[in-house]
Amino acid sequence: MKGDGGGADAVSDEALLAGVAIGDDRAILAFVRRYQRRIFGLALGILGDHGLAEDVSQETFIRIFRHSSVFDARRGSVASWALTIARNLAIDTLRGQRAIPTAPQDRVFMSLQSVERQPDDASVTSDTLSRLRVALSMLPIEQRRAVILASMHGRTAAEVATEESIPLGTAKSRIRLGMSRLRESIVTREAP
């Protein structure tokens, strides 16, 4: 990750979170610098509004810091945990807005095709993401939209059906088929 500054660059996410949990100012600053672009990017992708995205990002960090002491590494990585908090807050915010933006998923959908991670993300995790990105790009467009709406925007199958003007069964089918293909890309990676 870039921009952490000082010796914090080499610190694992978990160790950094441990520092956050005890209120270490340097750890907090390093954590913010490590994750602010990712969290803001996700919030912006879901909300499509810079002001709302900043509010959600700030609240995400506050919640991460407040709950850092009970982070459960068995349930996933720090990145997944942090981004899930951001996603849920963004979805809550979106649901709190009466008007749903026209098509926020289009922004995510378009950007997914060109996004490139930072070079220093070269790791097993990056390999997983690369495979997932490729698999996502190879999905039929209707499945891709359904999966993105469900996974990133927290839409239920019924909501996907409404937004895409398709029957509920079709929405469920698209989500399941899409996720199944993405799953295969992960499983394939893990094979020796």
Binding site: G7, A10, V11, S12, E14, A15, L16, A18, G19, V20, A21, I22, G23, D24, R26, A27, V32, R33, Q36, R37, R38, F40, G41, A53, E54, S57, Q58, F61, F65, R66, S69, V70, D72, A73, G76, S77, S80, L83, T84, A86, S111, L112, T128, L129, L132, R133, L136, I148, S151, M152, G154, R155, T156, I175, R176, M179, S180, L182, R183, I186
Partner: protein, 225 residues
Amino acid sequence: MTEPTQHSVNCSEIEPDLVEFALGTSSGRSRSRVVSHLSTCSKCTTEIETLTAVADAMLELTPDAEPPLGFEHRLLERLHAEPIRSRRRDHSVMFAVAAAFALIAVLALTVGGATPWHSTNSSRTTSGKIVNARLVSQGRDVGQVFVTAGSPAWIYMTFDDSTHSGPAWCRVTLQNGRVVTAGQFSLVRGYGAWAAQVHTAGSRIVTAQVIGASGTVLATAHLSA
């Protein structure tokens, strides 16, 4: 997907619900069915874990975006205005921290190199103001020790070795050779997690040891380079 379970719902019946469960978009009823099924089906539990990994990774595909100017400043100001709970540094929070570390340690011990710890062959990592080292017993990793570098230091320890139970003590050795008993904790079925303040600079702590009830050294972590 025909693995029988103790419940009336079998794998083929629950399969359509797994994706939405992993995505966190299932209904309450569906979620309840899945949870009930997973409690007895390792096959579907593995499937859920894989699907959840996909769902989590999807979030990481979203492109980064530069926050507005002043974002960091505003966040830190807000943090100072609303101190996070852990800044009170009370003991209950420290135990919660220790518990979190315990979970991390369990993961580290169960999946080995898959975790992102920076523990090295030298069993020591300096990470800014926190040092992380392995607790070793007869060549086996049995836990982790974390020490903050400042003074007074905080030391957090997790210990997991089924061959020991009962009370245990944490003993640290400082650079000047002085030995300090930092605190006592209990090993329940070989497991214990513990945290306490040590009235010295963390950078002066050379080793941390777990001492059993008989006075024997159960494990040692080397915190010096």
